[in-house]
């Protein structure tokens, strides 16, 4: 798969990238193709080639920038822990980067509760990374509640993708 640099990618390549990072079930869901602007919700830094292990693109696509949660839960599954362990390794190997961990919820909940729930999820990922040795000073957390779904259908196939904590690599340490 060829990855283009920068934020501008074709519709096709965006779709491929997204599907590579998500479950097959989500990719067979026709809802997700309704919108031509599907991806890059969380993706600030897509810079560098995904072939370059030191690039944020590699982090996003190969290491895996997100972990998913069960309904109303913020505990980390085994799969989530292994993704986060990979994130921690990458972050420790690339100390010039900082990260913001975004917590999200699906739309099945009130706005306020989902903000608090997203904060729990972001914090769960944050704690795991710090326990793995990533300096807390390099990490920030934010909750978007249900404000920024990445999948827009109203059924579990989408909800499962929206209940997530996404580690967004930032440009680097300022100062």
């Amino acid at each position: 798969m060829t990855i283009m640099n920068g934020a501008k990618m074709t519709y096709l390549s965006k779709t491929l990238i997204l599907c590579a990072g998500l479950s097959l079930a989500a990719c067979t869901n026709p809802d997700r193709f309704d919108d031509t602007n599907t991806v890059d919700l969380n993706g600030g830094a897509m810079s560098g080639s995904a072939q370059d292990p030191r690039s944020p693109a590699y982090f996003q696509q190969t290491v895996g920038d997100r972990v998913l949660f069960a309904v109303d839960q913020s505990n980390l599954s085994g799969e989530a822990q292994s993704t986060l362990a990979g994130q921690a390794q990458w972050l420790m190997a690339n100390p010039e980067y900082t990260a913001i961990i975004e917590g999200h919820a699906d739309e099945q909940g009130t706005r306020e509760y989902n903000l608090a729930l997203g904060a729990r999820r972001a914090n769960a990922a944050h704690e795991y990374l710090v326990n793995q040795g990533v300096a807390a000073s390099r990490l920030k957390v934010v909750s978007y509640g249900k404000e920024r779904p990445i999948e827009i259908c109203s059924n579990e196939a989408c909800y499962a993708q929206n209940r997530r904590a996404v580690t967004v690599i930032a440009a680097g340490l300022t100062s």
Binding site: D35, N37, S74, E112, Y113, A119, V142, S154
Partner: protein, 440 residues
Amino acid sequence: MRMLATLLTALSLWALPAVAQSNGPLRIEITEGVIEPLPYAVPDFVSDNSAGADFGRRIARVIASDLSGTGLFREIPNEAHISRITSFESPVQYADWKAINAQALITGAVSVDNAGKLVVRFRIYDVFSGQELGSGLQFVGTQEGWRRMAHKVADQVYTRITGEGGYFDSRVVFVGESGPKDKRAKRLAIMDYDGANVSYLTDSSSIVLAPRFSPTGDRVLYTSYETGFPRIYVLDVASVGRRALETQPGTMSFAPRFGPDGRTVVYSLTQNGNSDIFRMDINSGASARLTDAPSIETAPSFSPDGSQIVFESDRSGTPQLYVMSANGGEARRISFGQGRYGTPVWSPRGDLIAFTKQSKGRFHIGVMRTDGSEERLLTASFLDEGPTWAPNGRVIMFTRETQGPQGQASLYSVDITGRNLKQVQTSTGASDPSWSPLQN
């Protein structure tokens, strides 16, 4: 007064789902939750001078829209009128209004005075008893404010006939929404309660959430992501000036609400992933923690006397409603039904708490007594949430969002009886309404 007494009886029966009453010509029927609305006529207001002519019909139309919009009144259209009101001072031909079964008649006159001010006078008649209902009144205001003057007349009619406070001369602050579901742009907006006179208070460069009016309607609390993190701001409605509330660095704050004193704010603050409720004096910036639990505590709302706070917590394992002292301390759970409860809001009358309930895959707006008894669900849909009370505590406005990729949010209102569910017209998507008090 017979008409007055009859409608009052009807309103006092709101808690009973099916009551039929049929005694005499002024009967009000409540059958399966449907009230028989009271017929009224509001002919175009006459103009005392040519400058006022333009306003006579428009003001009458807004009054009719207000009254009929409650579901408690039904207009008898102008085409059916036998008498024409050509002079505000001429005696009313009651027989002509009886003949078309108009039980209430509203007449008025409009003029523009030498200073360019709009002067609106009106009278309300009880047609079947053949007398005026209360005394005539006069309002003076700017010409641009003509809709407000119509709302004030309608509030008088509503109050005199139902015995309840009015709610038409009020505003709603809300979030205007545009764009697709995964990239929704949001900005704060303000409008009259009926959707007229929309203006925007912020741009859509960052996510804004859940604006809340101050007790006098002069300021709005809301949550914005303009720093990249959710944070509470207070905005002055007149100047649109705003400032962030000072909170500790590294925290998120959201779900703010004013206390009845207009300077105390309660809100959620999240630290290390845990959300608790705090209060702050927004003048001094002094804050205090009200809850201290590893569970989620959010959506606090003061009782109208300021002594208690109702809030949402999942300390039991699912989100439920709790009441505690305004100073914190032990909380007692008040919601015990099946499902998840959130966004409690204390009624301005103090008697009820409105809430969002999630049960069996559906969302409901409901009300319960402040001790949690007599829970009643008023609505049901894919996603209803965020109730706000009309100033008289009789009507609730809320957000309804449709499902699927094309899902859109809009505002709806419903009586606390569950009757008269209807959409509030807005030109864009809309969510998170907050209803102002009656304006002065």
